[in-house]
Assembly symmetry: D2
């Protein structure tokens, strides 16, 4: 009988619990023993490993966060740390691990694979910035969370003829800002992928105001700089009063959307199928609406092509 472990690593994202549930239940159904590693790679090093039953993952499908908790582990970046992690797995007789997380966690999975542990990686991050997939687990939920917040802020921006600036997550990726921007009808979006000239933004705001529309919503990705700073610059240059909201970790929590729950279930099942068939060292993705499994050593391209074209749509549809 095969022993499979599952761990979540890096920033948590809504839908991780769904994937854990799928790995555990599909694993057990196919005759495996399934173990949960608590606290990500750090927990692996410390041997926080517990066998899970089908019941242990009951009642979690609709909950945000990860029941296994997560961490960012400095020790796992060291050879010694990784050696210890591998020994912990060996001590429990575990040969394979499903890693759920973002780019950092994927790097960790590759290293674990290099140490001889069979791994499959599920792209779990709200940032939608991983290669080989059009969508990451948690992205759809995060975008909906931002849109809901923007809908509320628009109410009060309209009441006061005021500009609302919302700083959203995204260090290198403007995906959340772009999708949420189109979805909430934002007047402007500031993202790492597109050069930002504050003059353009101010020109757009001035045009709106000339046109009789005095309230606007601006979305800015954190990677471009602090929302509060951008607000001050607008104030200094054009005299407009801009109210800033920093959504922060709000975007990471919340009950996953249906799309994230379906995606997490499909990926969790697929991860187990791959491992039980002996296919390892695979990064999962969804491309052209099909589940795909990339080899770690293949060149894996970025697949979230649509994003920048959304900027044009947003620009053209907001007035």
């Amino acid at each position: 009988m095969r022993k499979i472990a599952v761990l979540t690593s890096g920033g948590d994202s809504p839908g991780m619990n769904v994937a854990i549930r799928a790995v555990v239940r599909e694993g057990i159904r196919l005759g495996c023993e399934v173990f949960g590693v608590y606290g990500g790679y750090e927990g692996l090093i410390e041997g926080r490993i517990k066998r899970l039953s089908e019941r242990d993952v009951g009642g979690i499908i609709h909950r945000g966060g990860t029941m296994l908790q997560t961490s960012r582990s400095e020790r796992f970046r060291t050879e010694e740390g990784r050696a210890r992690a591998v020994r912990q797995l060996q001590a429990s007789g575990i040969e394979s691990v499903v890693v759920i997380g973002g780019n950092g966690s994927f790097e960790g999975a590759k290293k674990l694979e290099a140490e001889g542990v069979a791994t499959v990686c599920i792209p779990g991050t709200i940032d939608n910035d991983m290669p080989g997939t059009e969508m990451t687990l948690g992205f759809d939920t995060a975008v909906n969370t931002v849109v809901e917040a923007a809908d509320r802020i628009r109410d009060t921006s309209f009441s006061h003829d005021r500009i609302g600036l919302i700083e959203v997550m995204g260090r290198n990726s403007g995906s959340i800002a772009l999708w949420a921007g189109v979805a909430c009808g934002a007047e402007y979006v500031i993202v790492p992928e597109i050069e930002f000239r504050i003059e353009d933004l101010i020109r757009k705001l001035q045009a709106s105001i000339r046109d009789g529309k005095r309230h606007s919503i601006i979305l800015s990705a954190e990677g471009v700089g602090s929302g509060a700073d951008i607000a001050s610059r607008i104030k200094a240059m054009a005299g407009y009063d801009v109210r800033t909201t920093v959504l922060g970790h709000l975007q990471r929590g919340g009950s996953p959307t249906a799309a994230d729950r379906v995606l997490g279930s499909r990926w969790g099942v697929e991860a187990v199928h791959l491992l039980t068939r002996g296919e390892r060292g695979r990064l999962l993705g969804i491309v052209s609406n099909k589940i795909v499994a990339h080899r770690y050593d293949d060149p894996i391209r970025q697949e979230n092509h649509n994003d920048v074209s959304l900027a044009t749509i947003l620009q053209n549809l907001s007035i």
Copy 2:
């Protein structure tokens, strides 16, 4: 200058307003005059046509339903009715129409095209049962609405160790039931695509109960028969107390999700682009995450392949 009209027809779906907004604003941006037809094909016959400005579609992106209202028109099925509809368009100098609706509306668009009016059809229905697209406009919102309802019903089913049956929409298509079923961790789903044997359902319930789990959620698509009837049969055959909820038109309303808002915006923009380029008689779709435009006379295949495979996932992951 080109004159474009937009109408919504058949059952309404969340996201129709988003598509209307996109057609109007992109149309005007490209130098067209855009007209709204009120009340679907029936309104077209009656000449309920009004020119729309960019402002007229402000503040609707987040609202369910359709600002243009909709109808099911008997008269439009007659030659006389259609002739009158065409005359109404000619009287306003309108040469092209964007139709947003389901399969019935698509049939109407084909007939309008046959009468010489340039048309593009946007698949707007919660049922996800149209050819040529992996997703219809409103489907994602409807699934999330069902999942939210199911999450609530699970609370009380657990409290009472009871079986909750939720009847959802879907005459010929089990898409809503299947997606929502996986997403809410339903124990069983009854859909038109899969032969239903009540003995299998009862066996599954009995196995759960033997296993110590006494509450369950069953989703059934309306096309398979009334939820209340199925509940009675379960009661008669196995003695279990089943509480039925009929979500009904609840599933049609509500603020559209981010995914539906982005999809509706992209399709609305594309419809205008096609018509201004002289490409007509096109059914829009999203396939492999790309916007596609099928010719009405091409064979258009069903693209929502994943659905039935979801039934297996659901079956295997619920215990």
Copy 3:
């Protein structure tokens, strides 16, 4: 050291978990041992009693339903059943019980008190039909759930110029229908407290239609009869197409609102304070925004006076 048990009984309501958490934590803080009875009075008879720690009630404040589960117990109506229940308590050394539930549960608490067990009863029901309190635990959440559903149904009713009828809970009490009706701007509400003449309803609908408003929302409390029947009668008498939604147990679930969470916390704390002070046989309530404790044998009046006056407001504000 005092031993207190807590049980939930009858139909579950959102906020029961909050009250359980408050009883357990406040009890332990004051030096008591606190026990959970699983499965209501039936569970009490069967001795399903477990000691609870502060941690056991962690992570439940936001969850619908009741972690202790509930039941309607026939056996507890018999002397023998009750005698057995009392023996179970004695066997664990428990002298006092906090009962959370509706009118039936309150009757049970009185009987338990008569058998010599110290009891306090917390009014937990969505129906808002208990004496001695302006508000019951779960009512605010249920009303918000209905309003959210009605907001969605209004979207689609408007799109189709159609009448939507929503059947809501309330056997003898129209509280949910009246509050939700005012809050969603319903055009008509049918409740047990007010004589219903279908002619009045039809006259109102006709007036609206003459006035150019062709969509309406009707709320009807289940106690007045089946929503589907009322819809058929409207159809038969006036020819209007009415779509019916039966919200059913949907109204019982869902994360409790802030108001229900605050109320449940206050009542849970108060119940423990009373029992530790030796004050027993008390039904809690909230009157004039103050927590009150009625003696079981005092005459306890109905306090939800406002309800019927809401009907006038609803009538006057809808057009």
Copy 4:
């Protein structure tokens, strides 16, 4: 026939639209002409006054913000500004004004009354800091918005064993923080009404951690100082990593809860009844669950007594 105007002033709050709808419809029903003043006192000075029909306030009951928009007017603080405002009313033949807003707006209403205009003031603010009422319009919605945000942040705080600090609105009043704190099970709350010693907070966090609970939620009212500063001080003194979220204007928007919709409807109706009966210079409130009308020159006490006692409950129930 009487002419009544309605205006919203100061910060907007969810439920203002409900009150506007009630004033307009009840006013017209009783034979008055009702006018909307756009843009608060500033708009009044500028004569932005428009007659409203019953239809003009249709479809707004569920929308956040205020359709009449609002402002903070410097000019209205001057005698000249007020004189001009009064002339604008006289020019339209309007003798009475319903003012919906917070303490600043109430001051304005008193001044208008002193100038001979009949006024009634509806307490519309999310802050719950007005005299003569247990609850202000918008407070219930704002608290629920904060609780929803806190529920999401708890998900991710748990996943990371981290402390989440949420800065909420409230310059002089901790009502939002206290109610939301009890409702979300916050571990600590920092409010203007209670002296804050950071040592106490750190002691509480240390006790939790010793006890094995490593994630916590802290709510702080903006009046006590910036959330980011408090987070830095915790980091400096105890080394804990605290993530801050600033909810900002998010708290002002959103569809009003059922309770706010009922309250706004009742107050709007009452305001019209008072004015048509010739009772003027009245501040509305809800005390002991009854609508009350205080004379401006009476001493009006603060009625939100419960707040501080909530701090004790919060402290005792969180572990």
